[in-house]
Symmetry: C2
Subunit: 144 residues, 2 copies
Amino acid sequence: MTESGSDTWLALAGQRLSSAGLKAGAARTAVIELLANEGRCLLSPQEIATKLQGGSSGSIASVYRTLDCLHELGLVRRLDGQDGVARYEINHPGHVHHHFFNEATGAVTPFEDQELDQLIREIAQRLEVRVTSYDVILRGVNGK
Amino acid sequence: MTESGSDTWLALAGQRLSSAGLKAGAARTAVIELLANEGRCLLSPQEIATKLQGGSSGSIASVYRTLDCLHELGLVRRLDGQDGVARYEINHPGHVHHHFFNEATGAVTPFEDQELDQLIREIAQRLEVRVTSYDVILRGVNGK
DNA sequence: TTATATGCAAAAGCTTTGCATGGGT
DNA sequence: ACCCATGCAAAGCTTTTGCATATAA
């Protein structure tokens, strides 16, 4: 049985965190495990904190600190929503997806498109820049 | 002499605002004229307010209200930055551009790519959605 | 004259930070 | 032992809102 995406991400996270000289505390571990399980698409810090409220660990401050840290290490992607709330999702190397926001319902639909990713690489070449991250955000409504 | 882009936008803005039953006050007029002159690429509300401080009109509240209003009418585009600040630029119909953020310097480079815009239309079709707005955000550094 | 616009100040959020305590290695 | 992590509460920010006044049409 091949290793699941979550497991590889979890392993990568543990590796990078210890490489950075960081120690595994209860709150950060809880956030990371939550992300590994259900962090595939855009969770807000508040949502994460709420989901963690069952356990004894995971103050809102630690959630923010953990997300900051993971973002700096390239372990999560961050999207800043129009509602002034930042949302995060795990960053799977070589497995990018993008987002369609339904403005009528608020629903978010992730999608992939290799052609799009390829074209962006070409654009980066043309601009003579090295792109370390990118987002494609579509907004609209269903139908047609 | 052909009408400049700013003038067409200014005309369109006046038209849509009055169609919406809104009245032309000093503060909003000042913001709109500023945008027409130098609102091609990503200004923050604070920057706009500062540029307006010379005149007697343009409190920060009115700047926010004006931008909100223009955004609802589709007259400006809005991008939410990673620093928690929303930035606006005039929305030229049929003249989309996107943004490269240099993470080292903070500089923003706008770019256009018709192939990209076309591909996004195709993706919208595939997803069976009607896209009313979209952003492509590149981040990275110069070189290579 | 009536509905909208404006400015000020207060309020509302989200996010960050200081500090004392607890925990990993 | 030493350094990092955590929680709480306070502070910092951007943005929104209430309200009285001024102004466009």
